[in-house]
């Protein structure tokens, strides 16, 4: 069964540094998402991406965050200047087979990148 893959599995970064988290969504999916899960807390939506642009973003997704689909397969999340409170598990998800309405389709999640800010 096709999977969403995320790299790296664990990223340790100094506060103030830029970090890029990478995701390869399922190949025929059209909708892409980033979520995060701070340790012990709920999964929170960050941003959704469709047709090469952001379709929705949460208040967490401020100017320090950006997303990009640089080629036909990768979907990246960049944090420009990391803060201690950015430490979390970041999950990429994808959904929406070509030609199908996405709203009733489950999102498929990667195993996440654990981001630790020192």
């Amino acid at each position: 069964e096709p999977e969403v893959t995320q790299t790296p599995s664990h990223q340790v970064t100094q506060m103030g540094q830029e970090v890029i988290l990478r995701c390869v969504p399922i190949s025929n999916h059209l909708y892409f998402y980033w979520y995060r899960q701070i340790l012990g807390q709920k999964v929170e939506f960050l941003v959704s991406f469709y047709n090469n642009e952001i379709s929705e973003k949460s208040e967490i997704f401020d100017d320090q965050f950006s997303v990009e689909r640089p080629d036909g397969s990768n979907f990246t999340l960049k944090i420009r200047s990391t803060k201690l409170e950015d430490s979390a598990m970041y999950f990429c998800a994808s959904s929406g087979d070509r030609g199908r309405d996405d709203s009733n389709q489950p999102q498929h999640f990667g195993d996440g990148t654990r981001l630790s800010i020192l």
């Binding site: 999964v43 959704s48 309405d101 709203s103 009733n104």
Partner: protein, 115 residues
């Protein structure tokens, strides 16, 4: 605004006994409801969904969930629990009327199945 409540942080059940993990939701329109499971150091795995139709939906690994519109609930159930079912379970909702929107998750319920 959409929201999901999972009132129990932890559910303990003996192996072979039935299990229930509770979920209630709030949306302005009609809900699309989902259950996901998370094993240690893994992402969220889709278990089942309710979109429309039969209120009892069946999913992976013998799990099922019952949609109750009057009680705005979508409780996850399994007739006979296995030790391997021990994991973190998340209920999620999206509002049908709003189309392609992000999932809103509950805070999760940790299920421990004891041999």
């Amino acid at each position: 605004a959409q929201s999901v409540a999972q009132p129990e942080d932890q559910v303990n059940v003996a192996e072979g006994n039935p299990l229930t993990v509770k979920c209630t939701y709030s949306v302005s329109g009609n809900p699309y409801l989902f259950w996901y499971v998370q094993y240690p150091n893994r992402g969220l795995q889709f278990l089942l969904k309710y979109i429309t139709g039969d209120n009892l939906v069946k999913g992976s690994y013998g799990f099922e969930a019952e949609f109750n519109k009057s009680q705005t609930s979508f409780h996850l159930k399994k007739p006979s629990a296995l030790v391997s079912d021990s994991a973190l379970y998340f209920c999620a909702v999206r509002d049908y009327a709003r189309g392609n929107t992000p999932l809103v998750f509950g805070k999760g319920t940790r299920l421990s199945v004891i041999a």
